[in-house]
């Protein structure tokens, strides 16, 4: 069979297209232009906003296929994978990119297995190989200690997931750009699910860590639970999200969803600030791809400085309040100037 075009797996929530989709467009455009083919997007949901679908076209997608049914409003692995395989057989994509999200990291392996094809997780770099036109997929391995470049020479589609926030969302190229939007109603037999979603418990306080552009991490250096507030104040001043090392979570100072690292979340924000964080390899595994890294630690030999762009060697109980105040005052001044 002839496989063609680069496809992305767009994601939606309550009918709205999520940011990861726009990041995937950035990745996809790079490949489709090099490959000289179309960029297409598939999305599963129910009652997806027409304007959001057109918006993907405006950002550079040539064809959007929206598969819609009430049973697809939330991710369920069986109906999603059945519908995705339906797209595979209808359109034979050459490349499929998905987000390394809870959905992408579950759906894509499920589909790759039944399609008997390769899938590379958590890619940080994607390119087309000159000559062979194979997709070159680069990803960190062994806790970020090494990078590996991987390809899928003999199987199609070539599938990869990329980390959220590892690329900028694609900008709008042209409002009302020409493209094809197809809305499909899946055959009801594709919608069978042995899993039932009976409820949802939203995250309590903090904004989702994966999505955050600025993350401030509290390490054991904060000494006790009362001092979390100090770090929270800094996070608030920066407009960032609070997170923690495992030692802080194990002590119950912050809950597990805050944990960054090998046994917690992998994040790649624009700005990472580590306060009283030593920078153990297991912690670095979850944050060293951050764009900018700042560390505040009293120990000049702390590992964290090895991966940092800017470091302050000092007592966090003195440095952090001074920093928070400075940022707040700065913001206050900016407001005054702009008025």
């Amino acid at each position: 069979m002839n496989h063609s075009d680069v496809w992305i797996l767009a994601e939606q929530e309550d009918g709205k297209i999520l940011r990861i989709s726009h990041e995937l467009i950035t990745r996809g455009l790079l490949l489709s232009q090099k490959r000289g083919c179309k960029l297409c997007a598939m999305v599963f949901g129910s009652n997806i906003n027409e304007s959001d679908l057109q918006d993907m076209v405006d950002r550079g997608v040539d064809r959007v296929v929206a598969v819609e049914a009430p049973g697809l409003s939330n991710f369920l692995v069986e109906p999603y994978s059945a519908c995705m395989q339906d797209i595979l057989s209808k359109y034979s994509p050459e490349i499929i990119l998905g987000g390394a999200t809870s959905t992408g990291r579950t759906l894509l392996p499920y589909v790759a297995m039944s399609a008997y094809t390769g899938l590379t997780a958590d890619c940080t770099g994607l390119d087309i190989e000159d000559g062979t036109n194979n997709l070159l997929q680069t990803r960190p391995a062994i806790g970020g200690n090494i990078m590996a470049t991987i390809k899928t020479p003999d199987f199609r589609p070539q599938m990869a997931t990329v980390r959220p926030r590892s690329t900028k969302p694609a900008p709008v190229l042209q409002k009302g750009r020409k493209g094809k939007i197809v809305r499909l109603k899946p055959d009801s037999k594709l919608l069978n699910s042995r899993i039932l979603r009976t409820g949802f418990i939203p995250n309590e306080e903090e904004q989702s860590l994966h999505e955050a552009e600025i993350v401030v991490v509290a390490g054991r250096g904060i000494k006790k639970t009362e001092n979390v507030q100090l770090i929270r104040d800094l996070a608030n001043a920066l407009g960032g999200t609070l997170a923690a090392t495992r030692d802080v979570v194990d002590r119950g100072w912050l809950s597990y969803p805050h944990q960054v690292g090998l046994s917690g979340k992998t994040i790649s924000p624009k700005l990472y600030v580590g306060v009283g964080v030593s920078g153990a390899i297991q912690h670095l595994a979850g944050m060293q791809t951050s764009e900018t890294i700042i560390a505040i630690n009293s120990d000049p030999e702390a590992q964290i400085f090895k991966v940092a762009d800017f470091g302050i060697v000092g007592d966090l109980f003195e440095v952090v309040p001074a920093l928070t105040k400075r940022i707040k005052d700065g913001k206050f001044n900016d407001v005054k100037i702009s008025k």
Binding site: P109, A112, T152, L196, V319
Partner: protein
Amino acid sequence: MRIIVPIKQVPETKSVKMDEKTGTVIREGVESIINPLDLYAIEIAVQLKESNGGEVIALSMGPPKAVEALREAIAMGVDSAVLVSDRAFAGSDTWATSYVLAEAVRKIGQYDLIICGERATDGDTGQVGPEMASYLKMPVVSYVNKVVKVANGKIVTHRLVEEGSEILESEMPCLLTVVKEVSDPRLPTLRGKQKARKADIPVFGLKDLDLDPKKIGLAGSPTKVVKIFKPKVARECEKIVARDEEKIKEAVGKLEGFLKKKEIL
């Protein structure tokens, strides 16, 4: 209730070294451990057995040495173990690994649950769980952070996603991949260790499983590693020592300037 727990033996992350010349990972002399995230899978499986009755079987694919990981699992309360090992399996990517493990699961026979770790610390893909489930045509619940209950052939779990936790009810048999929050792994007991030492652990090789030899090992793997290299972590750290009030003021000012330059503030 019959529960199968696939566990992987991985190198201790701290001690991983690279041969800079050849670009390969040096595995000799590196200490091996059970993939840390699989400990949570073992623990929740043992707890489910304790409350519902039944048995837990640990399953690992790897070199003969991986039997150590299986013995450790037995010491933690797992009832029995199976090692899947054959030179022909070497170099398998996640597709081929999942294929072999899934066929081993078939050979083990009837089961209600398969519980995997969320991901292995060496491969770090988190794909083997969902891929096994797909091959075995069973539902998968990934990122499980809580098992609420097991009743009437169904299992209720919480699944950790970006915005919170989903409450999902799945028919069994089903496959779970679990995150750390799901359980608090116990330490092996002395009795467990004795049992582990004596345990008879069967080894399944290529000839014992119903496998297409073209779909396994390096040759059968859809993905190929082209090259490995050391990441550029060489960040230029501007480090300022700030031990007194004056210095702190200066450092904080410089940091503010740095953030402005990066267009963060």
